[in-house]
Symmetry: C2
Subunit: 433 residues, 2 copies
């Protein structure tokens, strides 16, 4: 299968050496891979030619932190502080989850992500078989993890049911769908695990060459209580147990200290920044600029819909673009050209997908097209600026994952939305029966 995109604009980082920055380009996708990026469309026979109409072709969005099935709880339990939101609303609702319910929650999430130009997500949750099936059906990518929680130091980690589930998931799904599916290990957080379990899971991940997903210093309370309990911050705690020697993505990192930033940098930890969720739950604002200055790989994550309530990496990018400026009262704190990488390449790296997240020969063809002819994007003096400040989700004209078009001109190719809408509403209607 060979697809030619012609007459497209590219972000500066994708433009081949020597080419005009504001020129029009062609991109060829052969099967799941980008095989040409240049000014002249190569003469060849194509299965399909897409006229880009001077729109922007860019890497698709990567969502570095999500709990996809929580889409069932969109708008359920609002305007509450994190602990009350969890204890009073979310945890009781989660008691009622099962395979079918998680499957529909994940399917809803995936449909929303595809239309928003997101092709891959890091996921931490339960019943991840159901999410795995939803990912495989829909044609997108995910690093799934069964979030491990351990409170009893007397239970041997190797006998822990959640660890067993993680291992089974790994054995069953890792690499499925031509590598679209990966399975990571996950320790839910410092406050929800005992030392022995952290150490054991980290060793297992290291042995198998798996990645790790964590929540880290999301709230001040979590951060301070860790210091009370262990005498060190969550970052230092995990580092001390060897957890951060595994390639890790740490979500939130709102309350990290300067010393924590040093630890994250030294250990090569990727950080998932979720500004919408952090504001909405009243958790605070992550020190983004400090992390970028330290050279940390910062990616963007939506978190679960229950605390967002949308799955739009573009929305996270746009909030990221203005929030730090306002907070520091410095419009130069974060500049537009710093942002596309956070939403694309850095997210791919936070999922251990080195061959994704760029418009470059040899890269997997995870692409989106952004409508620069839309009224809300005229004029366009600079592409990164348009993306950071003007574009909206309605401007995503096309979403491609591994060379397969999943969304084009308002239509899905892999999802029957009528059916999904009906079935998902049935699940939700009877949820609390």
């Amino acid at each position: 299968m060979k697809i030619l995109f012609k007459n497209v604009r590219l972000l500066p980082e994708a433009i081949p050496e020597g080419a005009q920055k504001d020129g029009l380009f062609s991109v060829v996708v052969t099967d799941d891979t980008i095989t040409y990026v240049g000014s002249i469309p190569p003469e060849d026979t194509y299965d399909r030619t897409v006229d880009g109409n001077e729109n922007l072709l860019m890497p698709a969005f990567y969502n570095a932190h999500c709990h996809s099935a929580m889409t069932l709880f969109r708008g359920y339990g609002e305007d509450l502080p994190l602990r009350r939101w969890l204890d009073e609303k979310i945890l009781p609702a989660e008691e009622k989850l099962n395979f079918r319910r998680v499957h529909y929650g994940s399917r809803l999430a995936i449909a929303e992500m595809i239309k928003n130009g997101v092709v891959a997500f890091n996921d931490m949750y339960m019943f991840q078989d159901a999410t795995a099936e939803a990912v495989l059906e829909a044609g997108i990518k995910a690093n799934l993890s069964r979030s491990i929680v351990s409170f009893d130091p007397d239970i041997k980690p190797e006998e822990d049911a959640r660890f067993a589930e993680s291992r089974r998931l790994y054995e069953q799904y890792h690499g499925a769908g031509n590598g679209r599916l990966k399975v990571d290990m996950s320790l839910h957080a410092e406050y929800s695990n005992v030392d022995a379990c952290c150490r054991y899971v980290a060793e297992y991940a290291a042995e198998q060459g798996l990645r790790m997903q964590l929540h880290l210093s999301e709230t001040e309370r979590e951060h301070l209580e860790c210091i009370e309990r262990h005498g060190v911050t969550p970052a230092a705690y995990f580092a001390g147990l060897g957890v951060l020697d595994v390639p890790t993505t740490a979500a939130h990192c709102v309350w990290v200290s300067d010393e924590d930033i040093d630890i994250l940098r030294e250990k090569g930890v990727s950080v998932a920044h979720s500004p919408v969720s952090n504001l909405k739950l009243g958790s605070g604002i992550m020190p983004l600029r400090k992390m970028l200055d330290a050279g940390i790989n910062v990616a963007l994550g939506t978190d679960g819909v229950a605390s967002n309530n949308a799955l739009s990496v573009l929305r996270e990018l746009q909030l990221t673009a203005i929030l730090q400026k306002g907070l520091h009262r410095d419009p130069e704190n974060i500049r537009a050209e710093m942002l596309p990488a956070l939403a694309t390449r850095n997210g791919a790296l936070a999922m251990g997908r080195e061959d994704c997240g760029a418009v470059a020969v040899g890269c997997k063809a995870d692409l989106i097209m952004i409508d620069l002819n839309a009224i809300n994007n005229i004029p366009c003096y600079d592409l990164a600026t348009t993306l950071a400040y003007s574009a909206d989700t309605s401007n995503v004209l096309l979403t491609m994952c591994d060379g397969r078009i999943l969304w084009e001109n308002g239509e899905y190719t892999s999802i029957d939305t009528e059916c999904l809408r009906f079935e998902a509403r049935q699940v939700i209607r009877h949820y609390f029966d």
Copy 2:
């Protein structure tokens, strides 16, 4: 002309007494006015029946602060502090404005607003004849004002060219388009005017029964320099000159003191809150909750596109919903149900349009329909929550102003976008020639 909307959902404040909160309703629009809101569609002959398909019918958005023609400068001059942005980029660009350029800037702005569900805007700018013509053509509403700037205390205000222009605009356009167009007076800001001019313009506005538009305490520097110059804050300064005795909309109010809030409340000043612009320019964050607690009429404004860079009141609403929670680390600081009024009714009041901004019999038919069947709005446990946290601009299915449908299912009825796109690009391409 009689239009029946049936099978629509309504926000709690629109639901007739005694009716089921989560029921389906009918709304009848006769010419430019809402003539029925209830559970049963009245038997009658309709020119058109719109099946709402269980979507949300709500008041259209009102944009309480804008400089519409600045849409020409979308993305021109980014990531700079307010004074440098003004002095180095915007003021030189504005030197090159003329009737035709402002006309196209305003037409672009209006097209974007209509698709985003905005039917009315407060405007402060120059060449307002051009904006007036654009408003009349497109079928929306605006309170236009020629922003007055006066630096020379020796020029008699009555001989000031900008005041003369304001008066001419008022005489020519106030009430045009069946009242869709209004002309307000405007003093640009404290730092850009002399006392005599402020006093004189206020007296003129009071005599003619006009409203006033101001910038107020947008930046800390502006606020502190006023105190240095006059010994009082901008709010106290304007109050002392009688300006706030005129019905006034004050934009930004980021740096107002508690005493200023008392002044604004006493004088019945409407405040236009522009969180996107305030963050993006690094100006700061307005003390919203204090103002709401004081009972001030707070509305939402996009500001000009040059500092936003979009014209979406929904985006302002959604940022408003989460920003104060994060800032105060209190998710209960602002609750979803507080927000629809800010984007609708309060905006209408900030434009002196008492008969607008509600779904109620006798009100002008300024309505939008929000797609609750969109994947990103499923599930919907509560309408205000869906609006505040989940909906996006792609969910605006229909925009109606004064009973006329201006946007429906992705199509404009009053704007030829092909032509607008072409002509606007011509204007922009040759702007700096």
